[in-house]
């Protein structure tokens, strides 16, 4: 079982992801520079957070042209697992691997806080160790996390059950007051139709031990490991 962490110029959560896999799962991940054209046989690819290419044009807009992204697309088309966290999620949106787009937070500020997330699905490779409607606490840190998609596609997304995490209160109610960035329907994370590509704004790799405020990010990494153990 092999995890790969892709580093773009400006990625800054790549080592956190590395540590999450190494210390959280006891596996040695491989690092893949964005200019490379080989995923080295990885089963799960992590696109980490950060500010790829400085995010000057739009978040993730330039990173999607990195040579490795063609391989990530092919990996996803074969059913391989891809998880994009924060900037990684933004890159997945810009690449068209997930639908929708990110806009600046409605408060226009960079938001850095631990939020409650309601788990909408636990039948995925990424969430099988979670309970449906479980509330987990994971930190967010972004300025462009305001998920947008046109109304028709939003309905499709909801009808297809593609929303995986929603910002909510401690009881799991997704009210507007608990929406940190203005995302439509309090969306914090979505999957593609096939369920093998996940994008999420919260950082599970920053919630791997209680000392850091929460260890519930581990549930996501553990889920991926459990899934790969089952299918491999």
């Amino acid at each position: 079982m092999k995890f790969g962490v892709i580093t773009f110029p400006g990625s800054n959560c790549d080592y956190d992801c590395h540590k999450a896999v190494e210390e959280g799962l006891g596996l040695k991940p491989v690092h893949i520079w964005h200019r490379e054209t080989d995923l080295d046989g990885c089963d799960c690819i992590i696109l980490p957070g950060g500010f790829s290419y400085g995010d000057y044009l739009r978040t993730g807009a330039i990173a999607r042209f990195s040579p490795i992204m063609q391989k990530v697309k092919e990996h996803a088309e074969r059913g391989g697992l891809v998880i994009g966290i924060c900037n990684g999620f933004q890159i997945l949106l810009e690449s068209g691997l997930l639908p929708g787009a990110m806009m600046v937070n409605r408060g226009l500020q960079f938001v850095c806080q631990t939020v409650n997330l309601s788990v909408e699905r636990n039948d995925l490779a990424f969430t099988n160790q979670l309970q449906k409607k479980q509330v987990i606490r994971i930190p967010i840190a972004h300025k462009e996390g305001n998920y947008y998609i046109d109304q028709k596609s939003l309905k499709e997304l909801e009808d297809n059950n593609q929303v995986v995490f929603r910002y909510c209160d401690q009881n799991g109610q997704a009210a507007d007051a608990d929406n940190p960035n203005g995302s439509l329907n309090n969306i914090a994370g979505i999957v593609n139709k096939r369920g093998n590509v996940l994008g999420m704004m919260p950082h599970p790799e920053r919630a791997m031990e209680k000392l850091l405020g929460s260890d519930q990010g581990k549930l996501i990494f553990n889920s991926i490991k459990a899934h790969l153990q089952k299918v491999r």
Partner: protein, 83 residues
Amino acid sequence: MLTAEIRVTLRDGVLDPQGTTLNRSLENIGYKGLKDVRMGKLIQLTLDLSDRAQAQKLVEELCQKVLTNPVIEQYQFTIGESK
């Protein structure tokens, strides 16, 4: 030399957090008569090309593939001569 001026705006119906905030701020400092504010960006390119058709094609491709995100943005551009 040719230049291109690309006007990128949010699609109709897409909420504009920056525009909304600016609208509120302008009202807060006393300006009346505003109904809505929407913000976009202007991208100015100086092209190393002299053929207009070629310039048109390049800028169109840049807009479609890189400079704008069709999910939230729309664009218009004009090709001109550099002064």
